[in-house]
Amino acid sequence: MQFQRALTQGLTACDECHHVVRLTEVSPTQSQRCSRCFSVIHARKPKSISRTWAWVLTGLILLFPANMLPVMTVVYLGNGSPDTIMSGVIHLAEEGMYPIALLVFIASVFVPIVKLVGLITLLVVVQCKLPLSAKQCTYLYRMIEFIGRWSMLDLFMISILVTLVDLGAVASITAGAGATAFASVVVATIFAANTFDPRLIWDLRAPVYDH
């Protein structure tokens, strides 16, 4: 079966509405707009590689404070016990709640790392033109896009706990600096996945590619 890239034919799908438009020459000060949704047309997402690198590096740097600083502090009768993400997971496991411990571990520790490693792999594949299966890279990209949102679990849980345990001087739970850093990691990785253009993986192939 013979496959043809849209770009080879001077066509592209609009980023916003996936409407197929013909790319036309425009002066540098102007931009072509989609005839259906009026968005600016780009053949590929603009500056995709550098923007994705920027978000990935941001996420990678913030991953350290997110895991090292306390995400929440339980204060009970004046004694505070700060919890990092990992110590929270360990507490749950010690109390025998293995399924929930595993769930929190996957959502808060495993997923952010997998996302960052996956995105770096994709960026390196595109930049160094590594001969990896384009189809599998696209599956990796789709998985990264899908799992990102589930990392918000920990933040929602903290927002629930701070209101449930609010007994003034007796007991209270406060969100820590680690939670802010972790929230930023989640947002940075979601933006990184959004700015990456999976079509770049397929552009590495010859314009006409026989399958």
Binding site: C37, V104, T138, L155, M157, W202
Partner: protein
Amino acid sequence: MSEPLPNQSLDHDLEEHWAACHDCDLLLPIHDITENRVARCPRCNAVLYRHKKDSMNRTLAFSIAALLFYIPANTLPILSLDILGNTGRNTMLNGVLQLWQQGSWWMAFLVAACSVAMPLLELGLLAGITGHIQSQRYSHWLPKMIKWQHRTSGWAMLEVYLLGIIVAIVKMSELGDLVLGQALVCFVVLLVFTLCALQSFDRHEAWHRCMVLRQRAIAKAIACQ
């Protein structure tokens, strides 16, 4: 098998004949698919479009139904915890307020966006789009709404919030008397209807209907002159 390729003469009705895969840029002729079938890219398996039965009607119904449950789900207590006679109540809104008061404004902002603002925006946009289409009215807001629905989809994270509630229940059940509030029911109903509305929404058809309405509006404007 090789597909015929478009040439310049097809340019004016490209949208009728061609699709380009958004993941691998493969050029494909659009085939009409039967109801409840999915068109996938033969090269990378991306979902190009799916034909959903009675999409506009169902999305409108589900999104209005979900909106009815939105206010109780956000303002009534979802969980309350009794420790030594003191009761802590959690509603979706006071969780955000508490974080804000503790100084974690960035977290408060994110939680507010993903669990309160974005779901409302999503439902409002879905109801707005399908309401316009069902009443056969065109306004310049219609393409903007479809575009923004596509942009913001993915930021409404009610299902993740539900998982957060479950983890909180497990964590706190040993500390004191945990009572599940009325809003938990409202929240689950809101979540189910939101997912149903999103599941039944056919963006491909929405764009198609939007274009038909726009052409009709233009023809009418010309006829009036």
